[in-house]
């Protein structure tokens, strides 16, 4: 369990370090699958259908649907790699690492229930969210920002796992959110911005200003 979370955190750093969008998207996809597996592992005795549904939806949504859409968008815009981001790779890597450490520290501040005491869920969640923010703030290609957004969502999802038994609805809606927002964003990106600006470089999207 914690192993998976650790893996996910590792994937965050990997994603931060990778300049090629392919590997970025792959990282996101793998992370999605990992997250999908987690609810099944979280505790074995009560494995009701809702949890399974959540797991499946996650795997499909995060692991397959969105990555494919992203790849298609990438092909449509024929861009390979993130060139000259606002925030370089090394700095963002360091930031991500620091974020992870900070996450572990921060997580101590919040009291946990005994059954969650051992897990890395909270630090993992915070770490992924920070990573997501780093992407959203640091990168200029729309696709990498979307990936960032998804990582942010993954983080929240991780956190949601704390509640999956008490309030499945919230978690499910979280997934709903991922999929819808993801689809929306990608829809917009692919055939509108592409068409309007014939590029996915968000630096071009600064006409609206004071």
């Amino acid at each position: 369990m914690n192993l998976l979370i650790g893996l996910a955190m590792g994937l965050n750093l990997l994603a931060l370090g990778s300049s090629r969008l392919h590997s970025l998207i792959r990282a996101v996809a793998v992370q999605g699958v990992l997250l999908g597996v987690m609810p099944l592992l979280i505790d074995h005795e009560a494995l009701d259908w809702r949890v399974v549904a959540v797991a499946l939806a996650t795997m499909v949504g995060k692991g397959i649907v969105i990555p494919t859409l992203l790849r298609r968008a990438m092909r449509a815009a024929n861009i390979e790699r993130e060139i000259q981001p606002f925030l370089g790779y090394v700095p963002s890597l360091l930031l991500g690492a620091g974020g992870t450490i900070a996450a572990v520290a921060l997580a101590r501040a919040l009291p946990l229930l005994p059954e969650h005491a051992g897990t890395l869920l909270v630090p993992g969640a915070i770490a992924s969210m920070l990573t997501g923010f780093i992407f959203l703030i640091g990168r200029v290609k729309a696709i990498s920002q979307v990936c960032g957004y998804l990582i942010l969502e993954n983080g929240i999802y991780l956190f949601g796992l704390l509640l999956i038994h008490s309030t499945p609805l919230l978690v499910e809606s979280g997934i709903l959110l991922d999929v819808t927002v993801g689809v929306f964003v990608i829809g917009i990106i692919v055939d509108r911005i592409q068409r309007a600006f014939d590029s996915l470089d968000t630096r071009k999207l600064t006409t609206l200003r004071e």
């Binding site: 956190f159 809606s173 959110l177």
Partner: protein, 480 residues
């Protein structure tokens, strides 16, 4: 049941609109279902149903205090929308109409949601449903605006979801059984785990504040309002922000029950004042009269959260302000839309002398501007005065002083822009452009009606309304 109807009727309308074949007659669905919704809403308003404490959805006092305003605003905007879409008949309006009605339904859901998760789902659904409306004009600028709206808004969504998780975990940690209806959370009260509640409060405030458009999360607002059709702007400013505000109020009551009310209030008035200050400073400089409306909306969101921070009386005043601001701002948006269409540009650099080209819209625009800057006897004057009085009564002298200062700065900015575009001699290009725009009754009456409503609201506030606001306050602050 009726509560459900309020949601289902517009959604049904949306479905019908989605399959309605005729592009020319489709817009009429808007006023039809809007009217049905108004009738329902006011019927419920006049004889409010009893809401089961455990219900996830219900026309409870808070919904009763706010929802009718939204529905009223929607009806008028819908009436305007008919003639607007006739002018824009070149564009297909299937998605537009359907989504407008869907938004109405989701708004009703959001206002009536008594469950943390449901509330979140509804508000976010509204956010997402608004997206295609924003780029109705299909210009690159519109897409840029949409993109920013989507990502900033999306971040807000994420944060508020996280906040909801935290609140849920707080109740779980406090020995809750995972019942996330607000009644249950409030009942759990001090049992909630304090650090989690505070974390949740911050996250939810930022999340829903993004949707409300409080500074510094307001950045999407000028772009979206500037590029979207003015009718969408009116509904966003009058309806969607309201949902977010009620959401914050509901959460605030939970935090209050957990015994952290004073901290919540501090954050509320800090962010409120900050929003007002930022908005005022932007208003001093902006040269685009639709973005100006966005900043003015930011300012009024600041007023709302300030009022919410001033305790019971302040909350009542804030609810009053929700009504008055929504209606008045609607009038401003609609008349601004007329002027924008006639002038062909939203910038005061090339728009002048509109009082000669579109006299009626210009008159409404000026009047609305005065109304929204608290000129008596329009609604905002009374509500803002009540906020001031509440603040002074609650001993927030300094905050009130800053508040008044910001009002003054905002007044400078607004008058500067408004008179800049209304007065003077129009440019020849504007003249030629304005020839193509006719001030038909369809585009003049709706904003007039809104102004009239605002006036009526100010001068003859019906006692039943006051009673409704008071009831909402007692719901939020059970202990007197």
């Amino acid at each position: 049941m009726n509560a459900l109807l309020l949601i289902l009727v517009p959604l049904a309308g949306a479905a019908i609109a989605a399959v309605w074949p005729n592009n020319r007659t489709r817009p009429w669905l808007l006023p039809v279902f809007g009217f049905a919704h108004v009738v329902l809403a006011f019927w419920l308003f006049i004889n409010p149903p009893v809401v089961a404490p455990g219900a996830w959805l219900g026309f409870d006092p808070l919904a009763r205090a706010v929802l009718p305003a939204v529905s009223l605003l929607f009806l008028v905007c819908a009436a305007y929308g008919v003639s607007y879409l006739r002018i824009r008949s070149e564009r297909p309006n299937r998605v537009f109409v359907a989504l407008l009605l869907a938004i109405l339904g989701l708004l009703s859901a959001g206002h009536q949601a008594r469950h943390l998760g449901l509330l979140w789902i509804a508000t976010e659904a509204v956010t997402l449903a608004a997206v295609p409306l924003l780029h109705f004009n299909g210009t690159p600028r519109a897409f840029e605006a949409t993109w920013k709206y989507l990502l900033v808004g999306g971040t807000g969504i994420a944060l508020s979801l996280l906040g909801s998780f935290c609140l849920g975990y707080a109740s779980l940690h406090g020995g809750g059984v995972g019942d996330l209806t607000f009644t249950a959370l409030t009942a759990q009260g001090a049992g909630l785990s304090r650090p989690w509640v505070l974390t949740a409060w911050v996250l939810l405030l930022v999340g829903y504040g993004t949707k409300m458009g409080l500074a510094p999360m307001h950045t999407w607002k000028p772009d979206a309002y500037g590029e979207a059709p003015s009718i969408v702007g009116a509904i966003l400013a009058g309806g969607v922000t309201t949902v977010a505000f009620t959401a914050i109020l509901r959460v605030r009551s939970v935090v209050g029950a957990a015994g952290e009310g004073h901290i919540a209030d501090r954050t509320l008035w800090v962010i409120g004042l900050f929003s007002m200050l930022v908005a005022a400073l932007f208003l001093l400089g902006t040269r685009d009269f639709k973005r100006m409306l966005a900043y003015s909306s930011v300012e009024h969101m600041g007023i709302l959260s300030l009022g919410a921070a001033f305790g019971g009386v302040g909350v009542a005043a804030a609810l009053f302000h929700v009504w008055s601001n929504g209606l008045t701002k609607g009038a401003l948006f609609l008349s601004a839309g007329n002027i924008r269409r006639a002038a062909g540009s939203p910038s005061m650099d090339d728009v002048r002398g509109m009082s000669l080209l579109t006299p009626r819209s210009a008159a409404i625009f000026v009047t609305g501007m005065f109304a929204v800057t608290a000129l008596p006897p329009f609604g905002p004057f009374f509500s803002e005065l009540q906020v001031v009085r509440a603040g002074l009564a609650a001993g927030h002298g300094g905050a009130t002083a800053v508040f008044l200062g910001c009002l003054l700065l905002a007044f400078f900015g607004l008058t500067r822009v408004v008179f800049g575009i209304v007065d003077g001699r129009p440019r020849p290009t504007t003249r030629t452009n304005a020839k193509r725009f006719v001030e038909t009754a369809g585009v003049i009456v709706p904003p007039l009606v809104l102004l009239g409503l605002s006036l009526w609201l100010g001068l003859f506030t019906p006692p039943i309304l006051r009673e409704a606001w008071a009831a909402a306050v007692t719901q939020l602050f059970p202990t007197p």
